[in-house]
Symmetry: C2
Subunit: 434 residues, 2 copies
């Protein structure tokens, strides 16, 4: 007899979203934080389960992977909309950050973000911000798997008044969070090639690389970015980073809107990863990334929501939908990036970007990050197939979320958090910021 911690029964299994593997009536057994077994209900033998979750026909799939977020910026959600990136950053976000960002703000606003993400089916996030220690604590406390990255920038920043300390602070964070929480992995986030000098980038990358940690950087977000890069070593931001020796499989280039064929070839050659934030790119009028070309050449690509200040949602279902649709109109080709590819990017491929090769799929031995999506509602009726997860599903359709084998959302309610208290805290902070 099989013994399990959690047995999910009667679900429509999507073990690897984006493939044709679907089990219409299946089960998933979870033990010790990992998938122990899965298959057709007809093949389910006797089981002793501590907890049985009756999926009742819901879709059972890997949790979504949000490859780019600044969680604490939920405080600035909707504070300044309808602006271009330069004005938005320079006149609104940077000033607000200099006044309002402190460890308490980062902790509570990241808890709010973590709650929003879990409730909408995200089980793994890559986050970058200042006071990353506070963000990391927030993710762990909420029960969200996270890569938490400390920001590095050559300007006075929250918690790093002297930019000369920026890489040192990041390195200390990497060490402090080494194996500290099984859900949280530390990393470094260099803001961009135009806000960090070449030697800052190289030192930050070195600190991350020698510990085997990820190095993130905003890259090629706007058309005007190359002109902003001081001491530029190549024609494009990607070529600049490559000339500095920064590109390898542990480097994640976030945005990649303005990359050309040569940039893409460099990413492929170096094995560097790309993350797109389609809604943020639209909202800040940055442009639309050449996703079909990136994937066709073999770049591993993830999707991210970016912050709530430039989206204004952290719902990865929404992100998938917009990404899929916009690529069709942009390329004039309705099959350029089909729903199946988008589902992969938001699950297994996104996990691969973040170095969690085993996440984003349901298979024996994989970490048990699992979500149940209710299909029993008018907007998901009829349900001919998983493409509707991209083109019609909302985060609010997620009913159950399990992270690392632990239920954190049940019946649409977050178990780890006093939501009213967190929202009250953030509203109090917002009353000062707004």
């Amino acid at each position: 007899m099989m013994t399990t911690d959690i047995l999910i029964t009667d679900g429509c299994l999507l073990p690897e979203p984006g493939t044709d593997r679907v089990t219409e009536r299946g089960y998933v057994a979870i033990r010790g934080g990992r998938i122990a077994a899965l298959g057709d209900m007809a093949d389910l033998g006797p089981v002793r389960a501590r907890e049985v979750v009756d999926a009742g026909g819901a879709v059972v799939m890997p949790g979504l992977v949000n490859c780019h977020c600044h969680a604490a910026m939920t405080l600035f959600r909707g504070l300044a909309d309808d602006l271009a990136l330069g004005e938005w950053l320079g006149e609104h976000i940077f000033p607000a950050e200099s006044r309002h960002v402190n460890p308490e703000m980062v902790y509570w606003c990241s808890r709010l973000a973590a709650a929003e993400m879990l409730l909408s089916g995200t089980t793994l996030v890559a986050d970058g911000y200042f006071f990353a220690d506070a963000a990391a604590r927030a993710f762990g406390a909420t029960g969200l798997r996270a890569v938490a990255a400390q920001g590095v920038i050559d300007f006075p920043a929250p918690g790093v008044p002297d930019p000369a300390d920026n890489v040192r602070v990041a390195a200390r964070f990497l060490d402090a969070w080494h194996l500290r929480d099984r859900l949280v992995t530390p990393a470094v986030f260099a803001h961009s090639p135009y806000t960090c000098a070449p030697e800052t980038l190289q030192r930050a990358k070195q600190e991350a690389g020698r510990r085997g940690r990820l190095f993130f950087i905003h890259t090629a977000e706007t058309e005007g970015e190359p002109a902003l890069i001081q001491d530029r070593r190549g024609a494009s931001p990607i070529r600049h980073l490559d000339a500095l020796g920064l590109l390898d499989p542990l480097t994640v280039c976030v945005h990649c809107v303005w990359v050309d064929e040569e940039d893409i070839a460099i990413l492929v050659r170096r094995g560097a990863r790309a993350v797109l934030c389609p809604q943020s790119h639209l909202k800040l009028a940055s442009g639309i990334a050449p996703l079909a070309a990136l994937r066709a050449q073999g770049v591993v690509v993830g999707l991210g929501t970016d912050s709530a200040a430039s989206n204004n949602s952290l719902d990865m279902f929404r992100e998938m939908d917009v990404c899929a649709k916009v690529q069709k109109a942009w390329t004039g080709d309705p099959v350029a990036v089909p729903a199946k590819s988008i589902l992969r990017m938001a699950t297994g491929e996104g996990a691969e970007v973040l170095g969690f090769g085993g996440c984003g799929v349901l298979r024996p031995g994989a970490p048990a990050d699992v979500i149940l999506v209710d299909r029993n509602s008018p907007h998901l009726t009829p349900f001919y197939g998983p493409d509707l997860l991209v083109y019609g599903t909302r985060g609010s359709d997620v009913r159950t979320v399990i992270v690392d084998g632990r239920p954190v959302v049940r019946d649409g309610r977050l178990l780890t958090t006093d939501l009213d208290a967190v929202m009250a805290r953030v509203r109090a902070l917002a009353a000062r910021a707004g």
Copy 2:
């Protein structure tokens, strides 16, 4: 003492979305299907109300106006995704329609659509399909205000096996539904300039016009459309329609993706209305409509979801969000069409497109089509202002819907419909179509 049917208390009032008029703690009194009074809670005198709805801080605003839908096509939601318009229509949708469309299908699938729309805050829809009588009955039964239009096309169509009857069938529908249901207004929907001959269009317009009813037509949806128009009278679809004398304030041109400056000038000169369906335009790779130019020249523009088969959602909140964001990237101008304009298009301006000048606003005397949007959730926290209704709100945030002074959704539950029964009917139909 004021007597009312319904008194909504303690709401954040947006009487005219898109304007700066916001009352942070307000009331709305409804009597005889109309707004009787509204204002600040501080000014609320003694009231005798049959029913008090405590908004508890929720946003109270006019219901959303979906200016273009084919409700019955919920049956084909997700049946064929990731295809171009021509192949999608010719190889999937038209064949499926010829096999599966009948009055029973139209009734039940339109009931499903009406449920989905009410639950996501739409209180007025303009629908076009065959067997419009069945659609009209479905809208009335669900409690959704609707313009139901009978389709006209020069091919054998569901319910109209001989195209020679197409205009006659539409005229009979206009007469049969004249003042039959206070929620439902009949109209005519000519499929397009490339599927209807000039004389068909003129006869259909004449039947609608002499009864003071709306005449809808899909126009300028794809770049290749002009080449498809037989007996073309102008360089573009709009010029073709204008040469036929079809454009006036009772004509609604749906799509308007491929319109140039001269087309826009014609729309303005004739007072014809435009409706955009941004997500459908993206998903079918049709393109992106020049919304900023249309509005700058003074065209009255509404938003529509199009059918669930090409979207795949009927959620107008999603439609607003995508429309706003895509226009920014398309024009490279993040302020080209701000959230405030989008909110107007989805409420008052959309109502104006459909000839319901009094709907889409909350003011004394206006029809009481009112929705309450819950802000007390992580993804809407903090809430600095109404722009977040565009950039972060989901249909599932709608808690209460009142149409024509009658509550049809309470606490997120639809009062007029046995949803399980409707979904079961549609699933049974889908089992044959899929």
